[in-house]
Symmetry: C2
Subunit: 332 residues, 2 copies
């Protein structure tokens, strides 16, 4: 069961989160499109509290989660660059490259499953992946990671949030999940347009109509511009969701990515192989819809997609717990 929490009500959110209701929704906005929702789903077993979010923020930014002490969640999902690292495939432990392009952590609270192949149901499950992935943070065991966090001084921080002996791998993931539910990007130009608070360009309006006309929005639908389903994308050699379900029917199936902030999260696709948004639009139209777009259409669609860049969250850099007077035992 999930409850919904208004992020406007959360004291630690920035003041920029708008409460304005749609005064006059412009007539040209296609059915289904809308402003970023003002609430995110919150699992019943992981309610958000300011202390938990603060702990999650420490953990998100702390390279102590990695075996080497060199890699944090933020290394690949950088808060300064829209929750991504702009790499084709991220650099991990000992400079190994990950298998797929790192998806953004911004607005990930809205997705019904996590990872390109949806192998994690929600943020808390996702947060357990990279620490144990040998090409990412490369922790050998959950116990090793928990022991390092204990040594780093996280024990009392967890106890404050989760009660006595609160430091555990599960609670680490809960705190990170709670923090990630604050990484929302409201008030994109498109959102303000929908709410009757501002305008977008004529090119963006043509693009908005075009994506609806040619059928992009059959999957990139709703206010999130994803219907949160898996769709077959026959592009590249990665078999996608088949490796999760073991079903050949899922061959080359991937999660439909949101268009929110898509202009800021290049390069594109699960393999990060496409450098520009224009090229990504052109390929998607061709491969998924059998549509050959003109250069003008591509430009219009890109202009529209750029109106989906919102306001990034304001985050104060945390101070990590650290033991006074002795070094941590990083490993290589």
């Amino acid at each position: 069961m999930k409850t919904y929490i208004s992020y406007c009500a959360i004291a630690f959110m920035t003041a920029s989160v708008g409460l304005a209701q749609a005064a006059e929704r412009p007539a040209d906005v296609p059915e289904g499109m809308g402003a970023l929702p003002a609430s995110v789903p919150v699992p019943a077993d992981n309610p958000m509290t300011p202390a938990k979010v603060e702990l999650g923020k420490q953990l998100y930014l702390d390279p102590a989660l990695s075996k080497s002490g060199n890699i944090s969640c933020n290394s690949c999902h950088n808060l300064g660059s829209w929750g991504v690292d702009n790499q084709v495939r991220s650099i991990g432990h000992k400079w190994q490259r990950g298998g797929r392009n790192a998806p953004t952590s911004f607005n990930a609270a809205f997705w019904s499953t996590q990872f390109w192949d949806g192998r994690a149901p929600q943020l808390e499950d996702q947060a357990k992946g990279p620490p144990m992935n040998p090409v990412e943070m490369a922790d050998d065991t959950e116990a090793q990671l928990v022991a390092r966090l204990q040594e780093a001084g996280y024990g009392p921080e967890f106890d404050k949030v989760f009660g006595k002996n609160g430091l555990s791998f599960n609670n680490m993931a809960k705190a990170i999940g709670a923090f990630e539910r604050t990484l929302l990007t409201p008030d994109a130009p498109f959102d303000r347009y929908v709410r009757g608070e501002g305008d977008i360009s004529a090119a963006a309006k043509r693009g908005m109509k075009k994506v609806d006309d040619i059928g992009c929005t059959s999957c990139h639908s709703g206010p999130l511009f994803t219907n949160n389903t898996f769709q077959q994308f026959n592009y590249g050699t990665d078999t996608g969701r088949e490796a999760v379900t073991g079903k050949h029917d899922d061959d080359h199936y991937f999660r439909v990515q949101s268009w929110r902030n898509v202009a800021m999260t290049a390069p594109y696709f699960h393999d990060g192989s496409v450098k520009t948004l224009s090229e990504a639009v052109r390929i998607m139209a061709r491969v998924q819809l059998g549509t050959k777009l003109s250069d003008a259409d591509v430009a219009d669609i890109v202009a529209f997609l750029k109106t989906l860049t919102g306001t990034p969250p304001s985050v104060t850099y945390p101070v990590f717990p650290r033991p006074a007077g002795h070094a941590l035992n990083w490993m290589d």
Copy 2:
């Protein structure tokens, strides 16, 4: 020529910077010791402005300074862990290790030279080192780095701060230097004690007397607990300042490190070889002063050094400039 700027006067500093004057300086505080100065030296050719500091903050945290797009100043001088990475020797380009332990960026604005061997006169010079170091950020040329910053969208940001065509390697270093002058840690327990605003433990007081009695403070002197000189430290194989000056008289000479926040910057020494502050204290007393300290004396000195941990700066995570709709050209 250097002017001095009161950091209390800088609008973007936290409110925690104290202006209190020494109401009653306790009689047991040795001559010369004092609270962290309320002003940092600022070079006449690089005055601090809020816009320049903000740009410097972006640059400090942005991995776009590195050839790979993976390494920022903050990678080794993490704002969350007292301006260090707690590594023996930092991890750089392609997982290479640096030659020496990364010194903290906190309070570095106070040092009269930078790096362990003092090869950079001030922060602006230091900031030019890591980008061009092949084992750190590994940029091939200054022009390559400037072109990447241009591509990343930094042009207008530099123009705002430095005027037309403001984006240059020199100005990058100036902005970072300006930001680093805000990384100060006032209001340590010792500072409050000196100002008559709080107490420190009996053990810390014994340690304070001991470091003065045995002569540590002949070099670790003044409010910064460094006299900003080079001293011979015959420990390990690194020849230190000799490689900078070419003079054999400088063999094994290193900058006297400040004790400010020393409890939070393990491991210790230029080679990062010592894991605990206790051991560092014991070795320094033996090698530099010929003094064999008792365990009780070591414990007292460590208790005193822990009172020199100040209040870290409050930094809001910046949003990096990035081009909309296309990837940056990281290299490996």
